[in-house]
């Protein structure tokens, strides 16, 4: 029996206000911790999925870049709307079977509007320049630059654009390749 005349449960006289406040504060802290841990896990999972997806995309891109450079026979200065520069690479490749009298070029360039990497092929016969085919990467690129040497060695550096809140520093990918012949250099 307490001083107000209420009967207390045997062995339990209840909690003081301080204990209850402390309990509430701890409970709030724990709930906050659990919620943020859960949200972080979901975010990291999404980030990992994004990285895995961009890895697949870059794998395709790097393989294609290496294949193209290996097969290339020369380097171009300009073709169609493109001019070679730090963000545009123009390579002369052996022509397709049906265009064996033309000179064929492959352009790697990042589109300024969509930020996607375009791989365009042009055929030049006489004064006529024809766009043979053009493909674009699925993912947009944050940056793209090329390093080249006169001896046919190339390095391509790029970063994939990420959506959402990135938790890590920008991941710059580098892929290198060398031509299997000494490069021809002629204006287009």
């Amino acid at each position: 029996m307490d001083r107000n005349g209420h009967r207390a449960a045997p062995g339990n006289t209840g909690y003081t206000l301080i204990e209850m406040l402390l309990y509430c504060a701890l409970l709030c802290g724990l709930l906050n911790l659990c919620t943020s841990a859960y949200i972080s896990t979901i975010r990291v999972r999404a980030l990992n999925d994004g990285v895995a997806s961009s890895s697949q995309s870059t794998q395709w891109l790097t393989d294609d870049f290496v294949r193209t450079v290996r097969a290339a026979v020369g380097v171009g200065d300009a073709i169609g709307p493109y001019a070679a520069g730090t963000d545009t690479l123009i390579l002369e490749v052996p022509p397709d079977e049906e265009r064996r009298h033309a000179r064929q070029y492959v352009v790697f360039a990042r589109d300024a509007t969509s930020h996607r990497l375009f791989r365009s092929e042009y055929a030049v016969a006489g004064n006529a320049t024809e766009l043979v085919r053009s493909t674009a990467s699925l993912t947009p690129f944050k940056s793209l630059s090329f390093e080249r040497s006169n001896t046919g060695r190339f390095a391509m550096r790029f970063a994939i654009e990420r959506h959402g809140r990135a938790q890590r520093a920008e991941n710059i990918h580098t892929v290198t390749a060398t031509m299997r012949v000494v490069p021809l250099k002629r204006g287009v």
């Binding site: 701890l26 290496v66 000494v182």
Partner: protein, 134 residues
């Protein structure tokens, strides 16, 4: 007031906090390790591309000069460098060993070795064998 029961909420809360912290730290460490593995795999790919570039560079030299004259000097390219050595074999064959090293900050973080055998004639250079060494 029962003094034997007064601190149980605090103890339970602290125990729960410790368990949640341990799980969170474990998850974080696991994620970080996976991330590091991914980065290392990527560096390994960069090193492999450099080694392949070394072999291709040697092929270009054979095409242009009919012989390999790069020597053992390292060639810097992109995020690293490659080094190629050539050993003549009978019947105009050459055994090439290219080592690609990924070194983004002057520290070698990954290394790949590719061994190839070329058959060199007056007009053509063909690859007889291509093997990535582990």
């Amino acid at each position: 007031m029962n003094t034997q029961n007064s601190g149980s909420a605090l103890i339970i809360a602290i125990t729960f906090l410790l368990i949640v912290s341990a799980v969170a730290a474990g998850a974080l460490a696991l994620t970080d390790r996976r991330w590091s593995e991914e980065r290392q795999w990527e560096r390994q790919v960069v090193a492999r591309h450099l080694a392949e570039a070394g072999i291709d560079s040697a092929i270009a030299r054979f095409h242009s000069a009919g012989r390999f004259d790069i020597g053992d000097a390292a060639t810097a390219l992109g995020e690293g460098r490659f080094r190629v050595t050539a050993q003549p074999l009978p019947a105009s064959h050459y055994r090439l060993v290219a080592i690609g090293e990924c070194q983004p900050d002057d520290i070698v973080t990954a290394r790949a070795t590719i061994e190839a055998e070329l058959a060199v004639s007056a007009k053509t250079v063909s690859i007889v064998r291509w093997e990535e060494k582990r």
